[in-house]
Amino acid sequence: MPRMNKVSSRPNARWSGASGWWRVVFPAWMLALLLAWPSGLFAQDAPAVGEEASPVAETAEAAETAAAAPVESTSIEHAFTFGSYGRIQAAGDLKGHPAQDINVAGHGPRILEGPYAELDFGYRMEHPKDDFAVRMQITLALFEDFFHFTGDVDQRMGLRNLYAEAEGFLPYVKLWLGSRMYRGDDIYLFDYWPLDNLNTVGGGVGVFYKALEIKWQAGVNRLTDDFQFQELEVPGRGVGAESVVGLDRQRFITSLKGTYHLFDVTDHLSMKVSLYGEFHHLPSGGFTNSETQTKEDLPSDLGWVVGAQLGLWDFAPHGHFNLFLRYAERLAAYGEWGVPWGLNNNDTTDGAQELVAGFSLNWESRWVGVMGAGYVRKFKDADPNEVDLDDFWEGALAARPHIFITDHFHQGFEFSYQWRRPEGLSVIEETRLVPQVWQLSVMEVLSWDRGTYERPQFRLVYTLSHLNKGARDVFPLEDRRRDSAWQHYFGAQVEWWFNSSYR
């Protein structure tokens, strides 16, 4: 079964004017996608890829094939698909409060994540005369909290995908246009895409030739934050005022990724290597203080990313290992949705940097499975202050072993450690603190089948967390997580994915 459709928190995407971090969440299925594409859609062109696809990819393909039941048609082949990702929990802290995450790293363990769901609708048409095929994809995401928890019928929703993809018009080529989340492999245990993870309106072209994939994408966004957009009231042509758009600058983002697969490097090892680059550009603009009518110039800015990935599989049933490296500068260091903070004295992001090294792994046998993850990240904003809290190192390590007692009942555990080392001093303690959190979870798991990535998965989870002084200091004075070094979580969780548009 595919290991896919996770959600990601992006604490490096802070929105000015909002309270705290804007958490952006969206699903990804890219690992399975990259491995599944060659074997599924281009099997006739690249048989070697299809034959040698990793177990993850194979299961992804199977899932799609099973769900893509053909719809009767007299002229064209077409199919409607419905898929979903979802997770929800009923959980508390054993003191009568709802459970809260206690991450101090930007991408801590996902074990305590809040609810999230996606409804995935696809429609595929295959032309009767040739290989031309088009697929339209719509993904509706539902963000926490849900109706039965809050009693509030207003549900936060987002349209995560709205695009169409065409293939078969040229050999080896696919084309897409629309609004799309566009990304590669993730670190499941952290719900984190450490290399490539973009959300834009635009399009892209992919060339898939035998073991080689080259994917190019270009898109734009224009956030409603006043870093990019401002609507102004001006004297009306008649009576009263009317609105005009004063600031309206669009960020352009393009990326290029090349992946080469090496199958059967040994009897028990296949691998792939990816190289990745990204470029951002934001034109200049001007922000107008509506009270004083003074205008502040916002200079143009740019950013870029370079990165690489090494992927290994076949070394064990359902086993994989991915190693990620990413280096970003300027605008790109904040992410494509990030409203930069800590600008330099020229009001640009020159000086901002992000460096990430991370890995994810999975190893399984008939009786035991282990998921593992780790990352280290350095972030520095663009301001000249190098001893503030916005500049930091952070990281996390996690392991989730499963014992497959039966096909459906698993005994799970998770061990994790996360830390953050800010360059500045604690505002309260007035000394340098290094927040650190240790977590131990015990999970009773009812699963669809043997395997760490099998879903649906019902879990009864107890998590004991230890927060050092620095970790407690991360939270505001009135936050109850600050009160105790030991925090409890107990909850029932369910997580599923099926038949989703993981591309």
Binding site: N345, N385, L397, R421, L425
Partner: protein, 628 residues
């Protein structure tokens, strides 16, 4: 398999190392120590941090450069960036705005000045964080010679963090009373009600109903929340008597209050001549809220005194400050300072700061009042307001220089000449006393700039010459060297960056020469002070405008002669009006050479046989003579 097995431990080790590395330069290099050899050597430069230099745009919260009442973006990083400027100017100590966290705004005015404390223990995030503050102080101390840093502290009040619930309805009200026909129409506000010596009274339509309860406000979006540390949230820690209303109408206020009779009022020259009235004014000033709703702490309470001592002593330890400038001193009773100052000195000593310096602001021209705060182990020094007004009289308004001498003679009577335990000491280890340490200034953030109402650069230069050559510590308000000419607050708090930090302007160069002169001649810094000439003449007399004095230190003597007159040269002689020539302390026959300004080798004078000397100084000029 081998590869994955190898990478995981590496990452774990890396994480462990990074996680355990606990501290970098900012935390570990910080040490508290003594950086002052002799406070008389120092030249203070007053900086309003928000207006001096914006070195870090990332802390520009709620900045509006158009509004003079808003934050403009200056910060401690900006000061770090401009340390070369201070050195080039020649100043040796920076007096910076209060560093504590303030209520963000009140009635459309922002707390960019720093005098509206909300949390005595946290830094004002507009200026940086504690690490940046330490970096700034460290950077100052790392200069050669070290630049000292003086912290502005407020012990009298907090920001406007509560209101008086006069009508007990649980919300802050502002309303008009009276009919405007049968009774006067007047405005009342629960934020800042008028002074009532009984304490602000609650009031309903049925009449008074006891002391008005105070209500803390909770508006975290502008940091208008109850004060911190939490103990400051005790309502009993505040006098709760309402706003001072007596200024400018002292006699009327005393009459209204019934502390003096009409006859007493009519017969007295000044309200200060009426002890009962003076006591009432003092009561208002020391127990009333500072106008603007700044809530007055009851500093008579031992627990309040201890708490204030603790929060400000902590700042010495946290950021290695070299001294305090204490705000609104005349609004606090003497007994507070008799507790606070010795405690601070002792604490500083315990940290190894053996020369901690405290000078206070008594915003008053009444010299005895200023001097009163230097006795009984109170302050080491005062911001010399009475002299500031005397300087204006002489250098702006052509007053007689005898006014300066009169004030000097009062100094010896009004200010303490007794050393204080753990107080400032000179380079030779001898204790320094308040009469030696007064802080001389021409303008500051509460007064119009010198040039505001008298746009005469020569007059400014002459006043600066006086300020830098008399005894005491010169204190230069930022921008004076750039010829800023703003009027009253907030016009006198200009953005320094608009000057371009130019170092080639005539006033910058003038100050530069004066700081160099002080640096080169120890008598100008540390020397005893003897007045040789002053005059009542202000017209065309020979000596109209002349003020001359000597400074003597360890046998080295310097003669300073100033002509404050605006239109003609003057000489140290009054033979035209039946007087004599100036007598000096130099032996007869000594050849004196002017070493200031042009250092003209021909600008000499020879002391005559009767130890007199006749020196001519051009209008608004000054000369410094040393023996050759």
């Amino acid at each position: 398999m081998m590869k994955q097995a190898g990478i995981l431990p590496i990452l774990m080790i890396l994480a462990f190392i990074l996680g355990c590395v606990d501290g970098a330069a900012v935390d570990e290099d910080f040490e508290v120590g003594s950086h002052v050899e002799d406070w008389r050597d120092e030249i203070i430069y007053q900086v309003m941090v928000d207006r001096f230099a914006n070195g870090d745009r990332s802390n520009d919260f709620n900045v509006d450069p158009v509004s003079e009442a808003a934050y403009h973006g200056g910060d401690w990083q900006g000061l770090i960036d401009r340390l070369d400027y201070f050195e080039e100017l020649g100043v040796t100590a920076l007096w910076i705005s209060p560093v504590v966290k303030n209520v963000e705004e009140d009635a459309g005015f922002a707390s960019y000045h720093g005098y509206w404390a909300q949390d005595f223990t946290s830094v004002n995030p507009h200026f940086g964080d504690l690490a940046k503050l330490r970096e700034f102080v460290n950077a100052c101390h790392a200069r050669n010679p070290p630049i000292k840093v003086i912290l502005d502290v407020v012990v009298n009040h907090i920001g406007q963090l509560f209101y008086y619930d006069i009508n007990r309805n649980g919300q802050p009200d502002e309303w008009l009373t009276g009919s405007a026909t049968s009774s006067p129409l007047s405005r009342a506000t629960e934020w800042d009600p008028d002074f009532d010596s009984r304490g602000v009274q609650a009031f309903t339509s049925m009449g008074e109903s006891g002391s008005a309860p105070i209500r803390w406000v909770y508006m975290p979006e502008i940091s208008r929340t109850p004060p911190m540390p939490e103990e400051f949230q005790n309502p009993d820690w505040y006098n709760r008597m309402g706003r001072v209303t007596v200024w400018g109408r002292e006699k009327d206020a005393c009459l209204t209050e019934g502390v003096i009779t009409r006859e007493e009022a009519d017969n007295a020259g000044s309200w200060r001549d009426l002890p009962a009235c003076e006591a009432y004014v003092t009561l208002q000033e020391t127990r009333g809220d500072f106008p603007g709703g700044l809530k007055d702490l009851d500093t008579t309470l031992p627990e309040v005194r201890q708490a204030l001592f603790k929060v400000f002593a902590d700042w010495i330890e946290k950021a290695d400050f070299d001294g305090f400038r204490i705000d609104t001193v005349k609004h606090v009773e003497h007994e507070f300072f008799q507790y606070f100052c010795p405690q601070i000195r002792q604490f500083a000593h315990s940290l190894g700061k053996e020369n901690f310096f405290m000078f206070g602001e008594v915003f008053d021209g009444y010299d005895p009042l200023l001097g009163s705060y230097t006795h009984d182990d109170e302050l080491d020094s005062l911001f010399y307001f009475s002299q500031k007004f005397a300087i204006d009289g002489v250098f702006k308004y052509n007053g007689p220089t005898s006014g300066l001498e009169d004030l000097y003679q009062q100094r010896l009577a009004n200010y303490s000449r007794t050393s204080k335990p753990n107080g400032p000491v000179g380079a030779d280890g001898a204790s320094l006393v308040p009469t030696q340490l007064l802080v001389n200034f021409l303008d500051n953030h509460d007064l119009p700039r010198f040039l505001y109402d008298f746009e005469d650069i020569d007059a400014l230069h002459a006043a600066l010459f006086y300020q830098f050559t008399i005894d005491g510590l010169p204190c230069l308000y930022y921008g004076t060297e750039q010829e800023f000419d703003g009027g009253n607050d907030p016009a006198n708090r200009e953005d320094m960056w608009k000057s371009g930090y130019a170092t080639d302007g005539p006033t910058f160069r003038h100050v530069q020469k004066l700081t160099a002169l002080r640096r080169d001649y120890a008598p100008l810094r540390r020397g005893d002070f003897t007045i040789r000439w002053s005059t009542d003449h202000v017209a065309d007399e020979q000596d109209a405008g002349i003020y001359a004095f000597e400074r003597e230190y360890k046998g080295e003597r310097i003669l300073v002669v100033i002509n404050a007159h605006g239109s003609h040269a003057a000489r140290t002689s009054a033979t035209d009006t039946g007087g004599g020539e100036m007598t000096v302390g130099f032996p007869a026959g000594t050849r004196l050479v002017n070493v200031f300004e042009d250092a003209d080798p021909n600008d000499e004078a020879v002391v005559s046989g009767n130890q007199t000397v006749n020196i001519v100084v051009p209008a608004r000029g000054g000369k410094v003579f040393v023996a050759r």
